[in-house]
Symmetry: C2
Subunit: 234 residues, 2 copies
């Protein structure tokens, strides 16, 4: 019942600072498109909405700008960044680079670690297959997102994890939108299984190549779709 955790270090007790609150709240509003792309808000207005003064909002905005989610227009306000198809292409290239390397790193790990990772990735991929069979798009999306996040996290490179998080935050809105547009999900499951197999057998080259190709295919499938819908920004 009582958490049997000895509080060793700093991670346990975190008092939420207002800046942290503002950062999380604004990020969430952006992710859920409550602040739509292109919307321009004043710090005062956001501060009012969050029930705090301008200072923590301003500092949170700095962090969000660093994350590429907003732009601070000097003496004008906070602009929620929109994503052009070109941005989506850039994001995919970063993901291709990061996930490819992560897959290679995973395949180079000792066998016990590889097995554990492969098992976890397998579980997520199975969930995807089940969701696909059940026609549950949302569940499929969650599992797919989990697969790709796990792929990077298990590689154990903190900087890669951070980059991956940042880039995925940027892509989240696009992901939500495009999830509904795609009709062929089945390739993903089999491609995931091929990646897992390469990791399990410790074939770094194949793991990188397959992770790489998986994302290239997804990108090449997605970008024309965006173009055909004439989506200039999202």
């Amino acid at each position: 019942m009582i958490r049997g955790r000895a509080d060793k270090d700093e991670s346990a007790d975190r008092r939420p600072s207002l800046v942290e609150d503002a950062y999380a709240a604004m990020k969430d509003e952006i992710r859920e498109s409550r602040f739509p792309p292109g919307y321009q808000a004043s710090e005062q207005e956001i501060a009012l909405r969050l029930g705090m003064s301008r200072t923590p909002v301003h500092e949170a905005a700095i962090r969000l700008q660093e994350d590429g989610l907003v732009r601070i227009l000097p003496r004008k306000g906070i602009l929620i960044c929109a994503l052009a198809p070109e941005d989506v292409r850039e994001i995919y290239d970063v993901v291709i680079a990061i996930e490819g390397r992560a897959a290679a790193l995973l395949a180079d790990m000792p066998e016990v670690r590889r097995e554990a990772t492969a098992a976890e990735l397998s579980r997520l991929t199975t969930t995807m297959a089940e969701a696909e069979a059940a026609g549950d798009l949302a569940a499929w999306g969650r599992a797919d997102e989990g697969f790709h996040r796990t792929l990077v996290e298990r590689a154990g490179n903190g900087r890669m994890i951070r980059i991956n998080q940042t880039i995925n935050d940027q892509a989240h809105r696009a992901r939500m939108l495009t999830l509904k547009l795609r009709r062929e999900l089945n390739a993903s499951v089999s491609e995931h299984r091929q990646i897992i197999e390469a990791i399990r057998t410790g074939d770094a080259e194949a793991a990188q190549e397959r992770a790489h190709r998986h994302r290239v295919r997804a990108r090449d499938e997605l970008l024309p779709l965006l173009a055909s819908f004439g989506l200039k920004h999202l």
Copy 2:
């Protein structure tokens, strides 16, 4: 009567903002180890030193923390991050991922662009060879840095460029230190030329593989060197 430095008359030049000034100044101090790793400073102290109030220093610190150069310890101060060998390994993996993908992107460009890029990279590599022959380590380092920066910048992916800059800022101190430790520079020139050749002929796979391998070799050469010097943090 005389108020320190001119605060309005001097501004024939556009004054960006105090936050920008503080950010640049602090970043520079960190790069040049004027603020040594592990050093803990108070915002007040830095503000005094830069002749401004605490606010812009605080906001600059937020950005530097986002860049991974400092950590803000709540109610304690600003801690200059040190790099452990593990961090260097992480940084190399990110660079391997990014530069590998950049090389592949370059090789997939139309011929005119490939030629222009190859020419520019060739020029830098030639400078390296000359510096090496002349025993000019500093010039060699600058040209090598230019080669790798150009490799990423010509790929034209803004997000990759940003990631590359951030990661290179983190690695700058390590780079300065290790430049003097290495004695075999010659492999770099020939490896660079192989990368360039792959880009020129449009062989994306080879370009990625060679960029990849070039950095892996450099890493495997460097890490034992750091370990043998017992460098725990730098």
